[in-house]
Amino acid sequence: MKTIEEINEKIKNGKVVVVTAEEMIEITKEKGTKKASEYVDVVTTGTFGPMCSSGMFMNVGHSKPRIKIGGGKCYLNDVPAYCGLAAVDIYIGATATPDDDPRNTVYPGAFKYGGGHVIEDFVSGKNLTLVATAYGTDCYPRKKIETYINKDNVNEAYLFNPRNDYQNYNVAVNLSNRVIHTYMGVLKPHLNSANYCSAGQLSPLLKDPKYKTIGIGTRLFLGGGVGYVAWYGTQHNPVVPRSPDGIPRAGAGTLAVIGDAKKMNGNFLKGASFIGYGATIFVGIGVPIPVVDEEMAYLTSRGDEEYWAQVVDYGNDYPERIPRSLGEVNYAQLKSGVITVSGKEVPAFPISSYSKAVEICHILKDWISSGEFFLTNPVEPLPGIDSGIKMNTLDERTLEGIYNERK
């Protein structure tokens, strides 16, 4: 057993042994889990994929005379930001699109510029046009402002992503008879392509499948800078089918993360356009996992062939919310480029970047080895396997129905 405090002491003294998740797999194959748990202190994990539930809070400072953008309207590079907050606090979400974007009216829409691109431009140090209108009050008389903002002239700017870093994800296929454009990319008809979205053996929550070390407050790599787990993510659903060792075989856990956007960069926050679907952002996340005991050495050293995902039809089942799996495949099969679904060989492609995930593992390893980055004990654990969490659905209810429910 090792404590976080002991590991941090080693980081301080420059004696910490940090390895990437890829390296941990090899080390454990060689040494076994017992010796590996004694030798290795920290395993770095990483993932880099499109994460729609992302956005950035900003306080843009007060103009002279003052304007109350709060309750008014506000655009950054023509993309609408949310301003139902105090006077000059705004939030730009990754999937926001300009009011005049044709969206999917001419199908499939291109979604060339949206909130994710605004965030990338901002963290890259570019100037953004800020256009805001307000209703004017005695204390905030101004009704309109047009100016340029950037990371040096706003006050705070922090990413706050309500749902990132899915523990595992569906493998998307298309059983319909036409090409479909989804958030999982373009899917060929008649089960002719399969797209998946996970870093598999590098993915943070897959390496700590039972949320033993990752919890609320955990310090992590976010978008090239430092962030924290703010809360469990939306749709955090630990109650899914799992392997005997606790590894989830479907979506499962998620993280809400927060971090100083001014210290992030465009290499790990990339605005994205999914044809026919919308604008979003690629987010890079890396979580250090302390090897506190032999169990964590075992769990952090599982390879792609031990992580399974469900194959789901996005032609009809997914849009109709039909909970059907066409089968299970593992990440080693997915990475090989061919999976077998219903007896048919189907080419498989990732939509999250494994090579970027590797890069993140190495950066985080360097940060820790050089004594810049320390590990944290969770303030609170994430809701676990026994939490009894159940996902709700959005049902169309009527007043009459509500009245009848009461009776």
């Binding site: 880099f48 994929g49 499109p50 291109a110 060339k112 990319g185 373009v186 392509s193 797209n195 990339k270 605005g271 994205a272 356009s273 999914f274 044809i275 979003t280 690629f282 990475k335 090989s336 480029g337 080419p347 492609f349 990732p350 939509i351 999250s352 970047s353 494994y354 090579s355 970027k356």
Partner: protein
């Protein structure tokens, strides 16, 4: 020798049976990958040409004699490596496997020689890394 090239025609060359001459006089095998012809504007032809080295050279000389601009295909299709994140979305739609995933590194590689300039990658690339300069 086998090569993919882009031919750009001036308006007054469009009515000449140039491809026929390449076959008949220079014994070249051609495969038209993409064509955009208009009698009112400059036109474009993407072709794979195959044949003996000597004939290939002569054929190209012949094309040039008609004032046709010839460009290698990679000049007009390129990937902005500073934007590419190696996600793999392009590879999933690339029919000739010009954009493919090196399954060891999981990086997306681009083999110009297999590209047919369909431009599907330009449309699907989430980070706008693929550029095609055809007109």
């Amino acid at each position: 020798m086998k090569k993919r090239i882009i031919l750009r025609f001036k308006r007054n060359t469009v009515d000449k049976p140039i491809v026929y001459r390449l076959v008949k006089d220079y014994d070249l095998i051609f495969n038209i990958l993409r064509a955009n012809f208009s009698p009112r504007a400059d036109s474009m032809l993407v072709m794979e040409i195959e044949g003996m080295d000597e004939n290939f050279e002569k054929g190209i000389e012949y094309l040039k004699s008609w004032n046709i601009d010839i460009e290698p295909i990679e000049q007009d299709i390129n990937r902005n490596d500073s934007r590419c994140v190696h996600c793999g979305v392009c590879a999933s739609v690339c029919a000739p496997d010009a954009l493919y995933i090196d399954r060891k590194t999981m990086k997306v590689e681009f083999d110009y020689e297999r590209c047919v300039a369909c431009e599907l990658c330009v449309k699907v690339c989430p980070v706008n890394a693929m550029n095609v300069f055809f007109d």
